[in-house]
């Protein structure tokens, strides 16, 4: 199938931004703050980061917020009234500047939220989002997208994928979906026709570091290995890896009351926390960190591929970068591949 290719001049990006803003789109883009690049509501083009390899956190907030109301209630003498959340009038959002590993993660996250039961809260939010992916011109030692079936110019998950062609160059824009076409129709002059075949040579080179099929198969027999204990000795059981990950979806549901009314809130949680599986009786099926570390790897590389036919990892490397004690998932996976059973 032929992809619709366009040329977007480097000065046109700011013009595109302004036009989209005029069309009342919210734009989430990466900005540098305190030395870390994170997604913010962008009021203007100035300051949007392009030189970073990866943002500290993923963009999953856009469809799966860290804290969101899922219903409101109020008690009065007429009785109890419970209302769902109206997500019909959400403004359109442009997710500007996600890397291909994040864009692919949107698909993986969507599999969880649509497995059997369809989570319409998530789906509604996602339907308002247009994804502007930006290919990677460089990578670092934490990246391993190519080991999990991805690549630095992967189009999966993006509505438009921009590839910068050379330092300070113009952009190849691949229009991949109808949502992408809608954006082009808002600013047609900025998207010139292009027949270029040159994309590969501007992409980062990310060597394949492990064979993910081999690892998934090996994990089936790996449950009792002592390797989990050795790998997780320095893990402190925080939630940093789960929270920055584009495909981690574990959540908690909390009620918050303010007098006679309140709401039910869904918020992020992590299987790495010691109390994640704690029963009220005091019994904890995973009461040592090695069991929790094992759950993280097994879930992403064994259980999810088996049940949902998608990988639970996009190779973005954020977890390793964010980890306060340098738990490097790439290193751990290579080590699993190398261990003889």
């Amino acid at each position: 199938m032929n992809i619709d290719k366009r040329l977007v001049r480097k000065d046109s990006l700011e013009k595109l931004f302004d036009i989209l803003k005029q069309n009342s789109k919210k734009i989430y883009a990466p900005f540098l703050k305190n030395g870390k690049t994170t997604f913010r509501d962008a009021e203007s083009f100035a300051g949007i980061s392009t030189g970073h390899i990866q943002t500290s956190e993923s963009s999953k907030d856009i469809a799966f917020p860290r804290a969101e109301k899922i219903l409101d209630y109020s008690k009065s003498k007429e009785g109890l009234s419970v209302k769902g959340i109206d997500l019909k009038n959400l403004p359109g959002v442009i997710l500007w500047g996600v890397r291909p590993c994040d864009a692919v993660g949107i698909g993986e996250l969507s599999s969880i939220f649509n497995w059997d039961y369809k989570d319409e809260i998530y789906n509604n939010r996602l339907s308002q989002v247009t994804v502007f992916g930006f290919s990677c011109n460089k990578s670092d030692e934490y990246c391993f997208c190519t080991s999990v079936g991805g690549n630095p110019g992967n189009t999966a998950g993006s509505d438009i994928l921009f590839t910068c062609m050379g330092e300070d160059g113009d952009y190849l824009a691949e229009i991949l979906t109808e949502k992408g076409m809608t954006v082009v129709s808002i600013a047609p002059d900025l998207f010139e026709k292009s027949e270029t075949d040159e994309k590969e040579k501007f992409l980062a080179v990310v060597p394949v570091r492990f064979n993910h099929k081999e690892i998934s198969e090996k994990l089936d027999k790996f449950f009792e290995s002592k390797e989990w204990i050795d790998q997780s000795l320095r893990c402190l059981g925080c939630g940093a890896c789960a929270y920055v990950c584009p495909t981690c979806a574990c959540f908690d549901i909390q009620d918050e009351a303010h007098g006679k009314s309140g709401s039910r809130i869904r918020c992020w949680d992590s299987c790495g926390f010691s109390h994640f599986t704690l029963h009220t009786s005091g019994h904890n099926p995973r009461d040592v960190q090695s069991a929790r570390w094992r759950q993280r790897i097994m879930h992403k590389f064994s259980y999810m591929p088996e049940r949902l036919s998608v990988y639970g990892c996009t190779g973005c490397g954020r977890c390793s970068r964010a980890c306060p004690v340098d738990m490097n998932i790439l290193e751990n996976l290579i080590s699993i591949q190398e261990v003889t059973l």
């Binding site: 939220f113 989570d119 549901i253 029963h279 069991a291 259980y303």
Partner: protein, 278 residues
Amino acid sequence: MMDNLYMPYPMRIERITYEAPGVKTFMLKFVNEADQDKFSYRAGQFGEYSVYGVGESTFCIASTPTRKGYIECTFRQTGKVTNALSGCEEGSIIGFRGPYGNVFPIDEWKGKSLLFIAGGIALPPMRCVIWNALDLRENFKDVTIIYGARTVKDLVYKDELKDWELRKDVKLVTTVDPGGESPDWSGEIGFVPTIVEKIAPSSKDTIAIVCGPPVMIKYTFPVLAKLGFADENIYTTLENRMKCGFGKCGRCNVGKLYVCKDGPVFSLAQLKELPDEY
């Protein structure tokens, strides 16, 4: 209005039964008749019961689907939500999400004998399938119920135990732990696994359904094995920490299965394939 997976049905507490110290049964009816008409469930399934402003808690549906118009749940006051539920009165409105989970394969058990073994607060998850079987009594050969609790006071469904005892088509054996008997106690005295061994029910053409605290389960399975029960013919229902009930929040993921979707009913054969994380 879009379908909100998290929106509970409003339920009125029709009747509260005090079962044992800290243990209550709620009979719940749908506030909206339209919800009642559309609702159906099967024995083994569970729900998430809400007290708005406090939270949700997971209990099995303890009533049988053969009796329409209401559902029941039995719970022990242990934590934040069960404490709040315990404070509700008849007539209060609470929330219910469900039914979730898989079912006891009661259709496959037609023509067989049924052996129910339960301990303490674990009788409620089995009550649904016991009454389901008794309402379809002609489908099964022998029905034996072995139920024990720590003390006489801790036995739940005391009135129903009397019903089952009087029925000629049910063999009921009740027991309390040594030291838990009252002066007028006429049942057995001993831990449930010990009593199962003593009664030695036949394993021929029999399905065993077992539910109880981890320590009881641990000692009951070997007894059943000794009596000749195959792993595929022993069933249990797992209690895990759950939140969403439909396989998304991740809490009840054990191995490749989710207790809320692939369970909570499992055969022993299935359980043995799972990692010991439940």
